[in-house]
């Protein structure tokens, strides 16, 4: 296990998990995984890197890992150790450093650290594998310790690396030829998660694995299943066993470690045996090779127990990572939303515009915008269905499309028709948006197009008008047509636009704030704050389930 793996060109070397040494001697070049520490260099044949040249000392140098970095240490060699042409006693290695040991130019080593920053668990494992751990500790117990440490480092991709390490340890303990870990996928079927042979090479799922034995093991209540095909006649018909000379198969179901519950009146129920199967560990050997049936049951039991908790722990680490990414996604959505809601309101002599948004806990798809052109001051309010990143992205696209068409002075119905065509053409799932675009001209003429949005409120002398004119939302039906409506505003008249987060704000009893309350507060007051505080009073302590956006346009004449 301590010998370096020698492979072909760099591009094919290893999994990218370990740092690589490229050893060049004359016309030969080979890559070596720096998979343990210390890594020895010298003329003696037991060195990890043997350079057969009289100028190289028998114990020439060591490459050791220290605090996540690699360092070359000269072992009092006669002709010296050189890094980039400079003789060194001890030096921390950096990417593409050229190392020479005694011989100059004839043979050298180039150091390639694993991907710039080493944040892989396996890398970490390899780095700390030099640490002395009590010899009483089993390999698997060591792994558990490493996993704990790796978990603290908040590493990514832990599961895969743990599985590979687990397989290597299992193959080492059982002396089997091939090992595979299968994990239960969402559909309940077992899928290959990792495969290794005893030479440490990766293996893929193939027909030579006895899936029938795998299934038997999954369904059985035993801790492990050993199948010696030479002694079970009923197995003779099983395809892979016949075809590939499988001699011994050991299959260990991985069961979710159960928290010890208090025993009920029925006494010790076979709780452990009924525990959920997360996957299976499978090792086998062929006829021609060794017999696995001599493997001690204690070892298999130990593997069964430790492997399951390893996999479970690794899964927990992954779940933590997923949760962290989800948080990141939410942060991205929140920043998109923030930008959408940052509106520079144009100053015009004939009208005043105000808008405000109150975001609920989850990120929604509300936005508003305002554009001033020669045609007048235009305000846009939209609510994209759904929540989260997808809604925020769609809202952002929608805002961009509408903005550019408004500045191009396209007629309002054509703008929403174009947006509808775009959304339905792209088949954006069942996502759609309700949109209202309203334009006020300096002479007081109001044109608006309502696409499935809460009807606007026109407040004239404390009287509220709710024009019911409207169209289908955008993004639902490709053949929808859109029309606008007109209204003449007089100085002092107000147009109030809201999203349904306002009308559907709920109180503890499950009642909606609704249109009547909205109209009442809009009629008697002129500020957005009044509307928001009326909603807040109504809801009491009940948190909002949707974003609330209110935009108010006052025509001053």
């Amino acid at each position: 296990m301590a010998f370096p793996t020698i492979t072909g060109p760099i591009s094919e070397a290893g999994s990218g998990i370990f740092p690589i040494l490229v050893f060049v001697q004359g016309n030969d070049q080979r890559t070596i995984n720096l998979d343990h520490s210390p890594f020895s260099v010298g003329r003696k044949v037991d060195k990890d890197l043997v350079i057969a040249d009289p100028r190289v000392s028998r114990d020439h140098a060591l490459i050791v890992s220290e605090n996540g970095q690699f360092c070359v240490i000269d072992q009092s060699s006669k002709h010296g150790t050189f890094v980039n042409g400079e003789r060194v006693q001890r030096k921390t290695l950096e990417r593409n450093d050229r190392l020479e040991f005694g011989v100059r130019d004839v043979a050298y080593v180039i150091f390639h650290p694993h991907h710039a920053s080493s944040n892989s668990a396996r890398d970490f494992l390899s780095q700390i594998s030099g640490i002395h751990i009590s010899t009483e500790t089993t390999d698997l117990e060591k792994l558990t310790l490493f996993l704990e440490a790796a978990r603290k480092l908040n590493t990514i991709g832990v599961l895969d690396e743990i599985l590979v390490t687990l397989l290597d340890a299992t193959l080492n303990l059982t002396r089997a030829e091939r090992g595979y870990v299968f994990l239960k996928a969402e559909d309940g079927k077992l899928r290959l998660a990792a495969g290794r042979n005893s030479k440490g090479e990766p293996l893929l799922d193939d027909k030579t694995i006895s899936h029938s034995i795998l299934e038997d093991a999954r369904k059985s209540n035993s801790e492990f299943v050993i199948t010696d095909t030479s002694q079970s006649l009923d197995l003779a018909g099983r395809h892979s066993i016949v075809a590939y000379d499988l001699r011994t198969v050991i299959c260990i179901p991985l069961r979710k470690p159960q928290v010890q519950t208090t025993r009920d009146a029925q006494g010790a129920s076979p709780l452990e045996m009924s525990a959920e199967v997360m996957g299976a560990l499978y090792v086998d050997s062929r006829f021609a090779s060794r017999d696995l049936s001599s493997v001690s049951n204690d070892i298999l039991r130990a593997i069964a127990h430790e492997a399951a908790s390893l996999v479970e722990n690794a899964r927990l680490v992954q779940a933590e990572e997923a949760a962290r990414r989800y948080q990141q996604e939410l942060a991205i959505a929140a920043s998109i939303q923030q930008r959408l809601m940052t509106v520079t309101i144009p100053e015009v002599p004939f009208a005043r515009l105000n808008g405000r948004n109150l975001s609920c806990k989850e990120i929604g798809g509300d936005f508003y915008d305002a554009v001033n052109t020669e045609d007048g001051l235009t305000v846009v309010l939209a609510d994209v269905s759904g929540k989260g990143v997808s809604a925020a992205l769609l809202a952002s696209t929608l805002q961009g499309m509408i903005f550019s068409q408004l500045t191009a002075r396209m007629p309002l119905p054509e703008i929403v028709a174009a947006v509808n065509r775009f959304f339905t053409h792209k088949h954006i799932g069942e996502k759609y948006a309700t949109v209202i675009i309203a334009r006020i001209r300096s002479d007081g003429e109001l044109e608006y197009v309502n696409c499935g949005h809460v009807p606007p409120l026109l407040v004239c002398n404390h009287e509220v008008i709710r024009p019911s004119h409207g169209n289908l939302p955008v993004g639902l039906l490709a053949d929808a047509t859109y029309e606008s409506d007109h209204y003449n505003m007089h100085p002092g008249d107000r147009l109030v636009l809201v999203t349904d987060g306002v009308t559907e704000a709920e109180n503890a009893r499950g009642d909606f704030f609704d249109n009547e309350r909205l109209e009442a507060v809009a009629a008697k007051s002129g500020t957005l704050e009044d509307i928001f505080s009326a909603v807040a009073n109504f809801c009491g302590g009940t948190p909002l389930s949707d974003d609330c956006t209110v935009v108010e346009l006052l025509y001053t004449g």
């Binding site: 609510d383 269905s385 799932g429 069942e430 759609y432 009807p455 289908l472």
Partner: protein
């Protein structure tokens, strides 16, 4: 999951009754998958929504999505049992012009009969 879906066949028409809330997420997905499964074997579906207490924007999107894909597949989904809130929503969104809505299940079934005749 806040949605319960029951399916039965009356006079050759598949009646799908929904109880609970149709919300963006697992409820909407459940409804979509159920209808998709049914549309593989039937072309006439009445969706009875009388047990639906709330439908959000995502749920509405699902309804329209199911309706459109049924239509494009030569099938038809008629709605019945709409509460006041859902009627309001369909009114505001003008989707009332898209869906065929009937007051009772019998009327919706009869409409299929007439269509077939």
């Amino acid at each position: 999951m806040n949605l319960k879906i029951e399916t039965r066949v009356t006079d050759g028409v598949t009646i799908v009754s929904c109880h609970g809330r149709i919300m963006f997420g697992e409820e909407a997905t459940e409804l979509r998958e159920t209808l998709k499964r049914l549309l593989a074997s039937t072309r006439q579906i009445v969706l009875n929504l009388s047990g639906v207490t709330y439908i959000d924007s995502g749920g509405l999107g699902t309804l329209v999505g199911v309706y459109s894909s049924a239509r494009s597949g030569g099938a038809d989904v008629k709605l019945t049992g709409l509460g006041q809130r859902l009627r309001d929503v369909l009114q505001v969104t003008k989707l009332v012009t898209v869906f065929e809505v009937y007051d009772t299940e019998q009327q919706a079934i009869a409409a299929f009969r007439r269509g077939a005749a």
